[in-house]
């Protein structure tokens, strides 16, 4: 697994993860009302916190993404991105388990068969988030090792 410590591999990972986070933040920044509604649809957070997250999460994604790509705060930004991804995964998994139809902004608990397409969409997003989480955790761990090595030298 030596390639995981390869400098260029880590730079590529940072650009991919940071780029995806910057891209994902833009749509939410421009449509905050819709993002607030989307969070509401997950039925995951108490009402009073929904807009706090709708206002701040897109900027946390944007800033962490920029820092990760630029390499300024690699450990801090990769840790924040990992925490966000864990939150997204938990929200998606509970929506999947409860059969919430999160895309159509309705919450009808449908029969599993009728909901097969929606469910596979959510499943795909859970897998994507797990891959991003793995990449982000690798960046976090390897950045730490590199810093430690630099200090010892």
């Amino acid at each position: 697994m030596k390639f995981l410590s390869n400098k260029y591999f880590l730079i590529a990972l940072r650009i991919i993860v940071g780029g995806i986070f910057i891209y994902a933040s833009l749509d939410k920044l421009l449509n905050q009302e819709m993002f607030s509604k989307a969070i509401y649809n997950y039925k995951f957070l108490p009402g009073i916190f929904i807009n706090f997250f709708a206002i701040t999460i897109p900027y946390i994604e944007l800033i962490a993404g920029i820092f990760l790509i630029s390499g300024i705060f690699k450990r801090g930004s990769s840790l924040i991105i990992s925490i966000l991804l864990i939150l997204f995964i938990v929200a998606l998994v509970q929506a999947y388990a409860r059969g919430l139809d999160i895309n159509c902004a309705c919450f009808e608990l449908k029969k599993e068969l009728e909901n097969a397409d929606q469910k596979s969409d959510i499943l795909l997003r859970i897998i994507e988030d797990f891959l991003l989480l793995a990449a982000s955790v690798i960046i976090f761990i390897k950045s730490k090792t590199i810093i430690t090595k630099e200090i010892h030298q």
Binding site: E33, N51, Y59, G76, C106
Partner: protein, 178 residues
């Protein structure tokens, strides 16, 4: 130089949160700090209880459209008897399994993606001040509310929401069709 992880985290979070709240405050599209869904399920009997004001429109809100009003089952039945248009927001396959007699299927999922002009084209035979009752499967689905707001934003100013939906309607023994 070794930088503490906690310092990095704090800087990222403080910059993001400060930026988020500043932009939200300055932006014309900014949202309220606390989301208010308190009226979403509220059935206001002053607007629906007596015959005199049952037909009354909702209030004109800041966004420039008349707020849809939630109505109970009896009021929905009264509108039905008067020949008011009922709009079912569910998907066509759900609609075909059973719906309020004479209701029109306007699939919310599809409808919300349309432009204002396209929405008006779909509803072109309905006058802007005519009453429309929006409903969906039951009180556990919220398409009735979301669809009502889509129609209200398109300019229809007397939208009612029947929260009980098809399930309650059918249980009450009111007219349905497949």
């Amino acid at each position: 130089m070794k930088r503490k992880l906690s310092t990095e985290l704090l800087i990222i979070l403080i910059v993001s949160i400060a930026l988020g709240f500043t932009v939200n405050m300055l932006s014309p599209n900014g949202i309220a700090l606390v989301r208010d869904d308190s009226e979403r399920f509220l059935i206001d009997s002053s607007k629906t209880g007596s015959d005199n004001n049952q037909n009354q429109r909702g209030k004109l809100n800041k966004a420039g459209f008349y707020q849809p009003v939630n109505i109970p089952g009896e009021a929905a039945k009264k509108f039905f008897d008067e020949g008011v248009i009922f709009v079912d927001g569910r998907e066509p396959h759900e609609f075909q399994l059973g719906h309020i007699k004479g209701a029109r299927n306007i699939d919310y999922k599809n409808f919300k993606e349309k432009s204002k002009e396209e929405k008006l084209e779909i509803l072109k035979d309905i006058k802007k001040d005519q009453i429309i009752v929006s409903y969906c499967g039951s009180d556990s689905c919220e398409i009735s509310i979301d669809n009502a707001y889509e129609m209200a934003k398109a300019g229809f100013d007397n939208i009612k929401i029947y929260l009980g939906g098809y399930k309650e309607w059918k249980q009450s023994g009111y007219p349905v069709e497949d």
